[in-house]
């Protein structure tokens, strides 16, 4: 165990706020994990609204057939930036925000291991966001090659593409720094007595996620750097005429991209695994199999990348291997879902907003899992690849999966962060509107995909009109519902009923042993875990 905790001079509680700058400089120079966690969460929230605004643009154009609002080129920019911003700007930073706030609190550490680097990993993000947003205003507009940035289409893009590449580089550096920090914190700074197998599952999932990030972010950096040199320095990595291979780009991208999918869902599994036992008032069922399942999912995620590429014309042996490996992921994922259900079984459940989001998560994420299983079967995937079925599938796992877990986690820990209880009525309203509009938006996309509507098209034939209208109405409703969430969070920060140290009856874990709001410095003397 590191010698850090307790070795510094003892701050007493009345000095809690005495040792840091105030005003804007508090946030710019802060090395406090709670401040940084808060900044990550607000940043991600802001990007969530930017990405949502782009989605509004997409769904407005698709409300009915014909070109209404945008030229096709701009439509492609909207879909591309919607994807990039939601993945790198909204979902990933939100989870890092959770990690910053919760990991030290849950393992009884006073702060993150590399506090100053932590400040850097956050402050890299705003410049990246600025690069992405300003890319709309350069000649030729933002990149329109899809969030996957497939070569050789990327070569045709204007300078907006280069801005996106630099943004991805910066965000990648940020992610890697964050991951190193999380791994070191978890491995070195646990309170005495907290063995790895006693650690909260959220920390476990983040530990595994951080390793995934370190493994694959450099791969993405490599892919986009090769794109950059193909664009400007006359290399031909992806140009067949120069001896390169356009499909090589896809292999490299998806070697990053598939684990990335799990980077965006494993922390969500962790959050849900914290919430369900609390509101079922029962310990998590099958803790160790949860850990093993998470690890197997992570390992399997490295050998399934080519299931995104069943249509590129790989040999039968390749298709079969990637099909079997992909379908296999259903087994550990199934184990996780069964464990959550077994946790609820014979519990004593109540349904506060975090629990609603957690149950909503299981239900809707499972539907995404089922369509994932259907897509894993190569011949069926070939039929559905690059159609709206895929759009439906990944929104079921990413919105209903990651995003709902983020909402659930926010409601769950908001009393700890702010010291106030959130407005339960508004919270529940937010949940119900979100889940209804979410399904309205994305469920019908399954039908669109089966019937043959390709993805990433600004206009469609009239047989797809009805479902697109339904999806657009759902999307507007879903987007507007999020304003309720903003309202709940702001209201909770400003005031409300005082939260006790442990506001949830069934909650266990070190974070509930410190007062609410969590003092600026916690666990200066490490707690002892029995």
């Amino acid at each position: 165990m590191a010698a850090v905790p307790g070795s510094v001079h003892d701050h007493s509680h009345d000095h809690d706020h005495a040792h840091h700058p105030t005003g804007i400089m508090r946030w710019v120079t802060t090395t406090n994990h709670k401040d940084i966690g808060t900044m990550y969460l607000w940043f991600s929230f802001a990007m969530f609204f930017v990405g949502g605004l782009l989605a509004f643009g997409i769904r407005a154009e698709l409300f009915q057939p014909g070109l209404q609002f945008w030229q096709p080129e701009f439509f492609n920019q909207l879909t591309t930036l919607h994807g990039i911003i939601m993945v790198f700007g909204a979902i990933m930073p939100a989870f890092v925000g959770f990690a910053n706030w919760q990991v030290p609190l849950m393992i009884g550490a006073p702060d993150m291991a590399f506090a100053r680097m932590n400040n850097w990993s956050f402050w890299l993000l705003p410049p990246a966001a600025i690069l992405l947003i300003t890319s709309f205003f350069v000649p030729g507009g933002a990149t329109a090659a899809g969030w996957t940035l497939y070569a050789p289409l990327t070569v045709q893009m204007g300078p907006g593409m280069d801005l996106a590449i630099f943004a991805i580089h910066i965000m990648g550096v940020s992610s890697i720094m964050g991951s190193i920090n999380i791994i070191t914190t978890i491995l070195n700074m646990r309170a005495p007595g907290m063995t790895l197998m006693k650690m909260p599952l959220f920390c476990w999932t983040w530990l595994i996620t951080a390793y995934l990030l370190i493994a694959v972010m450099p791969v993405l950096a490599g892919a986009v750097t090769m794109t950059l040199t193909d664009r400007h320095f006359d290399t031909h990595f992806f140009n067949a005429a120069g001896g390169g291979d356009p499909v090589l780009y896809q292999h490299i991208f998806w070697f990053f991209g598939h684990p990335e999918v799990y980077i965006m869902i494993l922390p969500a599994f962790g959050i849900v695994s914290e919430i369900i036992p609390t509101f079922a008032r029962k310990p998590l069922f099958g803790y160790s199999s949860m850990v093993y399942a998470t690890s197997s999912i992570a390992i399997l995620s490295f050998i399934v990348w080519a299931h995104h590429m069943f249509t590129v014309g790989m040999p039968a042996a390749g298709q079969l291997f990637f099909m079997y490996a992909t379908a296999l992921i259903a087994v550990p994922t199934g184990v996780k879902v069964f464990n959550w259900l077994a946790t609820m079984w014979k519990g004593s459940m109540t349904f506060e907003t975090p629990m609603l989001f957690a149950i909503g998560f299981i239900f809707v994420f499972s539907m995404g899992g089922f369509t994932g299983l259907i897509l894993s079967i190569a011949p069926v995937d070939i039929q559905l690849h690059d159609t709206y079925y895929v759009v439906a599938h990944f929104h079921y796992v990413l919105v209903a999966g990651s995003l709902f877990a983020i909402f659930g986690g926010t409601y769950y820990w908001l009393p700890k962060w702010t010291g106030h209880m959130y407005d339960e009525k508004l919270g529940k309203l937010h949940f119900w509107l979100s889940i209804i509009f979410f399904n309205l938006t994305f469920f019908v996309m399954h039908f669109l995909g089966l019937a043959g509507m390709p993805r990433r098209i600004p206009d469609y034939s009239i047989q797809f009109a009805d479902f697109n209208m339904v999806a657009s109405i759902g999307a507007f409703g879903f987007g507007l519902s999020q304003l309720i969430f903003l309202r709940v969070v702001v209201k909770c920060i400003r005031g409300g009923a005082k939260a006790p140290a442990s506001p949830w009856e069934g909650a266990h874990g070190l974070e509930w042993t410190v007062p609410s709001p969590a003092p600026y410095h916690t666990f200066e003397t490490p707690p002892v875990v029995k």
Binding site: P65, G66, L67, Q68, P72, E73, N76, A144, A145, G146, Y150, P152, L153, Q156, P159, A240, A241, P246, V247, R281, P283, F285, S289, T311, G313, A316, A327, V331, G334, V335, N339, L341, T343, M344, W345, K346, S348, M349, F351, I359, F363, F370, L373, I374, I377, P379, V380, I382, H385, D386, F447, L450, A451, G452, P454, R456, D459, Y460, Q463, D466
Partner: protein, 375 residues
């Protein structure tokens, strides 16, 4: 099993959704049939698992709630159960993998085809070359036929809106047809759902797939790989004909191609070139620069009155041949010398441009810089 997906969604259908479709397109080839059955099978399994798993969840939600006085149990492990629910899904997966493997192998078997057609993806149209079998030697382009007025909501949309082309691919029914795909610029993907194939068209590489249409009819699909601006506007239409009709079509098509052949060594007049150039323009340039030559402000430059179309001829030819790096202006090297000569002539003598320049095929040939024209 086949109708499960439909039955399950009948409730939604009742809500007034008119001609919406809920399942896969009805299969018209043996492979499409296999895919359809595979999907139905797996979908059925998923529905059963879904109902089983979530009835357990909803049972506990309704009966194991605190408000009903439920006291929490304290169990948190049971190795037997956990082993069972690891093994059972695995067995189900094996059950799904067996028929899927059979289909994968069938889809990959392109041997013994009676006809071979090469499909080339262009931004944004398809090129078809009949390489082997009946109709050998035929080649043509296939462009979106939906008028721009419909797309821009200036005219009512037809029933085949965005799914109609000027020259459909024509094949005989009941024959195994091998399709070679490649692309000229970026990756496209060739897909007709009812016939059960989808194959990416990749520049610099040739991939293959095959299909076998049981019945004659018209089958429609679209490009399914994001390929730039007009990705949504490159439909695929396949006319499957009875053998006799197909033979007639081959004869007629060959005659038509022969008649429209232009002698590249001949010197043409301005009027001839302009007439020919207008066709080339409609097929290749109008999507961006518009039929009016006005372009789309901010996105695609106008040709009418442009510096390029009124400046030195050689610069314009080079631009058409090579495209412009970093913009949507692709290379049009795939066009023949005479086609480029015609379209440049047309552009230099239309709208506000009245240069009077006449460009001949030989001028283009001189600037091609050693690269070989595809046609």
């Amino acid at each position: 099993m086949k109708r499960t997906s439909v039955a399950g969604m009948a409730a939604l259908a009742a809500s007034g959704v008119a001609h919406a479709q809920f399942g896969l397109q009805s299969p018209e080839s043996p492979i499409a049939q296999q895919i359809y059955d595979l999907h139905s099978l797996i979908f059925g399994i998923c529905v059963v698992v879904f109902i089983a798993v979530f009835s357990v969840m909803f049972y506990s939600i309704f009966y194991h709630r605190k408000s009903l006085g439920a006291k929490p149990a304290s169990f948190h492990e049971n190795t037997t159960v956990e082993v069972i629910w690891t093994i059972v899904p695995f067995v189900i997966l094996v059950g799904m993998a067996v028929p899927a493997t059979r289909t994968v192998l069938a889809m990959k078997d392109t041997s013994d085809a009676e006809m071979t057609i090469k499909v080339t993806g262009y931004q944004w149209k398809w090129g078809y070359d009949y390489l082997k079998g009946d109709g050998e030697g035929i080649s043509f382009y296939s462009n979106l036929a939906t008028p721009y007025a419909q797309i821009h909501n200036e005219a009512p949309k037809g029933p085949e809106y965005l799914l109609e082309v000027d020259n459909p691919l024509v094949v005989p029914a009941g024959k195994k047809i091998r399709v070679l795909t490649t692309a000229n610029d970026v990756i496209h993907s060739f897909w007709v759902g009812a016939l059960g194939f989808k194959q990416d068209a990749i520049p610099g590489f040739v991939r293959d797939t095959w299909f076998y249409a049981k019945n004659s009819g018209i089958y429609r699909g679209q490009c399914v790989e994001l390929c730039g601006k007009d990705h949504g506007f490159m439909p695929i239409v396949i006319h499957v004909m009875e053998d006799g009709d197909y033979k007639q079509w081959v004869a007629a098509k060959k005659k038509e191609i022969e008649a429209s052949r232009i002698d590249p060594n001949k010197t043409y007049t301005l009027t001839e070139l302009k007439a020919q150039g207008e066709k080339v323009y409609q097929g290749n340039c109008a999507a961006c620069h518009q039929a009016s030559g006005m372009g789309v402000p901010g996105a695609f430059p106008a040709l009418s009155g442009s510096k390029v179309a009124t400046g030195p001829v050689a610069d314009q030819i080079k631009l058409v041949l090579n495209g412009k790096q970093g913009t949507a202006m692709a290379s049009f090297k795939q066009l023949s010398d005479i086609e480029i000569a015609a379209v440049v002539t047309y552009e230099r003598n239309s709208w506000a441009n009245q240069t009077g320049d006449v460009v001949q095929a030989a001028d283009v040939k001189a600037l091609r810089g050693g690269t070989v024209a595809l046609k």
